[in-house]
Structures are given as structure tokens and as C-alpha cells.
């Protein structure tokens, strides 16, 4: 009876044969837990290679799948598509899904350490600042080009005068309060 677990990523191989980091209670590669009798043996085995752990792939892959599920390429149906027959996902779930996707990418980046850690830790802050700048820009831009219509006020006054004349002739009381 094998005292090690079988690797899920490379079926048929014992976990000790996975090329991964140090064999801990949980194999980095496939996450299987070790049977207790093998913990000591596992802890004693030194790291064989420094190859990237597949969680780096799983993070972005999960993010991609989540986004694909949450935002399918839906066409605007030309027919009178009234109520959506199936369950309509609440908008907050889409936002949470995006946040989860972003966090998993961030965590994956942290794990790879290909980018220096100090930068990676600050990435969310950069994101928030960028979002804030975008928001401020949109507000300022919109404020600069806010559509106004001063001539409409004049036209409205003319309409009011015209209406009052007509209605007074017809016997409607149009005295202002």
C-alpha cells in the first residue's frame, strides 16, 4: 500500500515524483494531503526544484472562467425580449466576481515572485488610485462640457405668454398666484 498519495496533476506518479517545492503536508502541485505516516518523510525531503507552482496558472484561469460565465457574449435580441426567462444574476454578484478575479490574479502574482514583492503588495492601492483618478477625470470632463441651454428659458417664457393669451380668451383663469 503506497504511503504517499497520488498526484492529481500527473496521474500515475507518486507525489514524491512531482517536481515542485518542498513536500509539505500538502503537495504544492496538487494539494493532496499526506497520510500522517509520511509527514516525517515528506518534511525530510529537500526541495528538488524551484519550478513555478501551478496555482499561478489556476488563479488567472479561474479568473478567466469566472468572467466568461459572468459576462457571456450576449447579443441584443431584436425581438421584444421582455423579462429574462431565466434567473437574472444580481449586479452585485458580477462586481464581486470581478473583485475575486482581480484578487486571484494578485495572489497569483504574489506567489510567483517574478515581480518584486514590494511592488506586488502595493498593486491594489495603485488600482484604487487609478480608479479614483478615472472618476475625477470623468467628473471634471463632464463638468467642463455640461450641456446648457440658456435659449430654452427664453423660449419657455414666450410659450408661457402665448399660452396665457390663448387660455384667457377661452375663459381659463390664468392669473399668477
Amino acid at each position: 500500500m503506497p504511503t504517499d498519495h497520488w498526484c492529481r496533476v500527473e496521474p500515475g506518479k507518486l507525489s514524491q515524483e512531482c517536481v515542485s517545492g518542498i513536500l509539505h503536508r500538502r503537495c504544492f502541485r496538487c494539494g493532496h494531503r499526506f497520510l500522517p505516516s509520511t509527514v516525517a518523510a515528506a518534511a525530510a525531503t529537500p526541495c528538488r526544484s524551484g519550478r513555478a507552482r501551478p496555482r499561478v496558472v489556476i488563479g488567472p484561469a479561474a479568473a478567466f472562467l469566472v468572467l466568461k460565465v459572468v459576462f457571456p457574449n450576449s447579443q441584443r435580441v431584436n425581438q421584444v425580449a421582455r423579462k429574462t426567462p431565466h434567473y437574472q444574476m444580481k449586479h452585485i454578484f458580477k462586481i464581486v466576481a470581478i473583485l475575486v478575479a482581480i484578487s486571484s490574479i494578485w495572489i497569483a502574482l504574489l506567489e510567483t515572485s517574478s515581480v518584486p514583492r514590494s511592488y506586488t503588495w502595493l498593486l491594489p492601492i495603485y488600482l484604487v488610485v487609478a480608479l479614483g483618478c478615472y472618476g475625477l477625470f470623468m467628473v471634471g470632463f463632464g463638468l467642463m462640457f455640461f450641456p446648457t441651454c440658456p435659449q430654452e428659458a427664453i423660449l419657455l417664457q414666450q410659450d408661457i405668454v402665448e399660452a396665457k393669451e390663448f387660455l384667457a380668451k377661452k375663459g381659463v383663469d390664468v392669473a399668477s398666484e
Binding site: I92, I95, V139, G142, T148, A153, D159, L167, V172, D173
Partner: protein, 242 residues
């Protein structure tokens, strides 16, 4: 081609009023002026105005006909959503237009609403003040700033299908309006936001038409701190429940 089939109308225009003695007469005149060949009716839902608005409406009915102007009064101020519902009960039109009675919404845009609906077959046509051919008059910088900031926030968070969320100059298909009102629970202008957001979520086809908005209530501060708090609460509510 809006042939009146036994009193059935094509368009019902619901105008909730409260103390709009002068404006209601002008609005009725302008609607009749700009929709000459359209089969419509105006439903005035008055919330027991103390200034005699209902008497003016009765005089207007003498001029234009009681079948074109319907007065459906209520005993006191009971809220905007219920005013629409009340008007809907008495509406016989296939399409329902809602607009304000204080002349900030000009009836001259009604033909463009109707035309847009006919061209695109939309379920909801909403007027927007924030596009190039639309516009606003009578707002100071502070008001414009809060409006723009609120709009950017709402657009980012909610992704509604419209550029003007708090506007209340809209045309709905009748069953669409019934469906939306029955699923909305907010009050005030958050109610308008909720209507359009729910319409987007339910997959209704929404189109927009530029309108101009002349704010005639000068000098009255309509946007205090409590309004902003109410807006943010409404935004969070819509974020979580739609």
C-alpha cells in the same frame, strides 16, 4: 394611425400635480399644441392641492373636452409611485408618458419620444439631459457638480442602460410600466433611478432622447446634505438588490 376605437387611446400622459395652478394650464395648452394629430389623453393626478389646481383643470376640461383631460384627484400627498399607479388605473392608452407639471419638462419633446419609440420599438424611451442636444438651464456650478458626480458614481456601480437616471420624462409601454412599478419600492427620485435600473436588469429595450430641462425653482436649495445621503443610500440599495 391612431384610430380611436371606442374611446381607446394610443397615448396616456400622466401628470402628477401639487400646487401647480398656473403651470398645469400652460402644460395642457402646450401638449395640445405639439401633438395635433395624435390620439392621446392627459391624466392629471392631483394630490389635494390647496391652491385650487383642480378648479383650473375643470376649466380646462370645458375647453378641451372631458374625454381628453381626465382629472383623477387624491385626498392628499401620497407619493409619486402611487400617483403613477393611480393614473395607470384610469389610463386607456397603449403607451404611457410621465412628466413633471412644473414646466421643467417641455411638451415639445413629446413628438420625438413618440417617433423614437416607433422607429426602434423600444419598451422604454427616456429623456436625457446630459447629451449634446439636451441641456440644463438654471443650475449653478455646485448643482452641476453634484449631478455629474452622482451620475459618474451611478454609471460605474450600476451600469444602467441610460445616461440620465434621475430624469422623470419618460415614455413606457403600458404593461412595462405596470411591471416596473410593482417591483419598485423606493421613494422620490431614487424611485426614478430604480425604475430604469430594473428595466435594464429585466432586459427591456431602452432608448434615449435628448431633452432640455429648465429649472424654474430658482433660489430654493433642492440639494442639501440629506438629499446626498438619501441618494447614496438609494445607490447602495440598488447595488445590492438589482
Amino acid at each position: 394611425m391612431e384610430a380611436a376605437a371606442g374611446g381607446k387611446r394610443a397615448y396616456s400622459i400622466i401628470v402628477p400635480t401639487y400646487n401647480e395652478r398656473l403651470n398645469v394650464a400652460i402644460i395642457v395648452y402646450l401638449i395640445f399644441k405639439h401633438l395635433p394629430d395624435v390620439n392621446f389623453e392627459i391624466i392629471i393626478v392631483d394630490d389635494g392641492s390647496p391652491d385650487g389646481t383642480q378648479d383650473i383643470v375643470k376649466q380646462l376640461q370645458q375647453v378641451y373636452g372631458e374625454d381628453r383631460i381626465l382629472l383623477r384627484a387624491r385626498p392628499r400627498k401620497l407619493g409619486l409611485g402611487t400617483a403613477y399607479l393611480h393614473g395607470l388605473k384610469h389610463a386607456s392608452g397603449e403607451f404611457v408618458v410621465i412628466m413633471d407639471a412644473d414646466l421643467s419638462h417641455h411638451p415639445k419633446y413629446l413628438p420625438s419620444f413618440i417617433r423614437k419609440q416607433k422607429e426602434t420599438g423600444a419598451d422604454v424611451v427616456t429623456g436625457t439631459r446630459y447629451v449634446k442636444n439636451g441641456g440644463v438651464h438654471g443650475w449653478n456650478l455646485m448643482r452641476k457638480l453634484t449631478s455629474r458626480g452622482a451620475n459618474v458614481l451611478a454609471q460605474t456601480l450600476l451600469q444602467p442602460g441610460a445616461s440620465d437616471l434621475t430624469g422623470s420624462f419618460r415614455l413606457y409601454k403600458r404593461d412595462v410600466l405596470e411591471d416596473l412599478i410593482s417591483s419598485c419600492v423606493s421613494k422620490g427620485y431614487v424611485f426614478q433611478m430604480e425604475m430604469i435600473v430594473r428595466a435594464t436588469r429585466k432586459g427591456y429595450h431602452i432608448e434615449e432622447v435628448p431633452i432640455t430641462f429648465v429649472d424654474r425653482v430658482f433660489g430654493i436649495s433642492k440639494l442639501g446634505g440629506s438629499e446626498i445621503v438619501e441618494y447614496l443610500k438609494g445607490l447602495v440599495y440598488l447595488l445590492l438588490t438589482t
